[in-house]
């Protein structure tokens, strides 16, 4: 089995790699969610060409492999003057990839907000900005948290693909270690177990967050339909 001395020797590199993995994941999720939310909002505007463009963007991202998107960004980018470092390209790629999925998740959440709530808010004289902030987004959050958590777990797994465009994340460092020590199988097995644990932790934390957010919103609006959504799913 794996020599423990190797772990001591390669420990710092693996730890650094894990840091890069977390950085790429965190930044990628953030970009993906923000961009996804903006895309979802823009899609609500009554401008037909804009809708088509956003729809095409989402279909293209969801219909092509993540790896091809990364190659296009990292290797194809310089042809149009877009020269990115591997890690930057990786974060941006992960963010763009996630944004299409998040946009769809948010759209489903937006549509699930009862019309009557928005109409009620309008008739109370609330501005669109404050309707969005105080009515739509909270209700959306409740109904979409499971899907968001699921997507974040998927993105955790996708970070591994970044190793192919030489982002020095955990998988990349692990492959370097495997190549230098010839302990290939043991290293990969260790890595499999590690990622299994990591994805499990992300999902568990997500479920806890879900319970938390749901409870908070239930207390905040005891008669709102967000309560109904929450109890209907539980």
């Amino acid at each position: 089995m794996l020599d423990l001395a190797l772990l001591v020797q390669y420990g710092p590199a693996l730890l650094r790699g894990f840091g890069v993995t977390i950085l790429c994941w965190g930044a990628g999720c953030l970009i993906g969610m923000v961009l996804g939310f903006v895309l979802m909002l823009l899609r609500q505007l009554p401008v037909k060409p804009l809708r088509w463009i956003i729809r095409a963007y989402i279909e293209v991202i969801r219909g092509t492999p993540f790896l091809i998107q990364l190659f296009l960004l990292y290797s194809g980018g310089p042809s149009i003057g877009l020269r990115l470092e591997a890690t930057t390209a990786g974060i941006l790629g992960l963010g763009l990839y996630g944004s299409a999925y998040f946009a769809e998740i948010f759209r489903a959440g937006y549509q699930a907000v009862p019309k009557g709530q928005v109409e009620a808010a309008l008739s109370l004289g609330m501005s669109y900005g404050s309707i969005l902030r105080r009515v739509i987004v909270p209700a959306m959050l409740v109904s979409t948290i499971p899907a968001i958590v699921n997507m974040m777990a998927i993105l955790t797994k996708e970070t591994v693909v970044l190793s192919i465009i030489t982002v020095p994340e955990l998988m990349y460092e692990m492959q370097t270690m495997a190549a230098e020590t010839f302990a290939t199988f043991e290293t990969i097995l260790g890595m499999a177990l590690f990622y299994w644990l990591l994805v499990e932790v992300v999902s568990r934390l997500g479920r806890r967050l879900e319970a938390r957010v749901t409870r908070f919103l239930t207390h905040a609006s005891p008669q709102g339909s967000s309560t109904e959504t929450a109890t209907a799913r539980a």
Binding site: G63, F71, K157, Y195
Partner: protein, 215 residues
């Protein structure tokens, strides 16, 4: 952008796309077999089978596909099975897909009314034919949209087998763009081919779904 580059490379890319398609199809077929077996074993094989199935599903859904692929690729020679990368890749895709498919079937089985298997029992059907003639056909029909979705996901995931050197669409694009220094055009073309295949699959899925609804 030089479109002549794409035209020149197109025959190779399309040839590679055919490899992508049949590798994915074989992966999905293997995944179906494994998925149905795991699902049936978990439902009717007692506690130990359920737990083993649960670990299988959790592992293959929790570990990134790239790592699964490398694991299988390096593990098979260690246990004395020397197979070409292509076979290892199909095995990896099938094992990964099987985990998702077994969950799809589990969900679909829950949607088949309980009375169905009770009625079959009352009519004296033996256990195996309740599965083969009552439960699985109905579960299959319910799960068609999810299964087509799974095929599309697997087709995209198959780009990862380029890492172990299988000359499918992604690998071939890499090879071509490394020789003509036109990565932008080549990867763009590859992306469009993936998009076209997935679009066709989605259309096919809608047609099958409509057909099954009529039946």
């Amino acid at each position: 952008m030089k479109f002549s580059v794409i035209i020149d490379a197109l025959p190779y890319l399309l040839g590679a796309a055919v490899t992508t398609i049949w590798v994915s199809l074989l992966g999905v077929l293997l995944g179906q077999v494994i998925g149905v077996a795991v699902c049936v074993a978990r439902q009717s094989g007692g506690r130990a089978a359920d737990m083993a199935g649960g670990v299988y599903v959790s592992f293959f859904r929790g570990v990134p596909l790239l790592i699964q692929l490398l694991l299988i690729y390096y593990m098979l020679p260690l246990i004395g099975i020397d197979v070409p990368p292509l076979v290892a890749s199909i095995a990896a895709l099938g094992l990964a897909s099987g985990a998702y498919v077994s969950e799809i079937y589990r969900g679909a089985l829950n949607a088949v009314p309980h009375g169905q298997s009770e009625a079959a029992l009352a009519l004296g059907f033996p256990g195996r034919s309740i599965w083969a003639r009552i439960l699985l056909p109905q579960a299959f029909r319910i799960s068609v949209p999810a299964l087509v979705n799974e095929l599309i996901l697997l087709l995209k995931a198959s780009s990862l087998i380029s890492v172990v050197g299988v000359a499918e669409l992604t690998r071939t694009s890499q090879t071509i763009s490394a020789s003509n220094y036109r990565p932008l055009e080549i990867y763009l073309a590859a992306g469009l081919i993936y998009l076209a295949i997935n679009g066709a699959l989605a259309l096919f899925g809608t047609l099958v779904e409509r057909r099954l609804q009529q039946a």
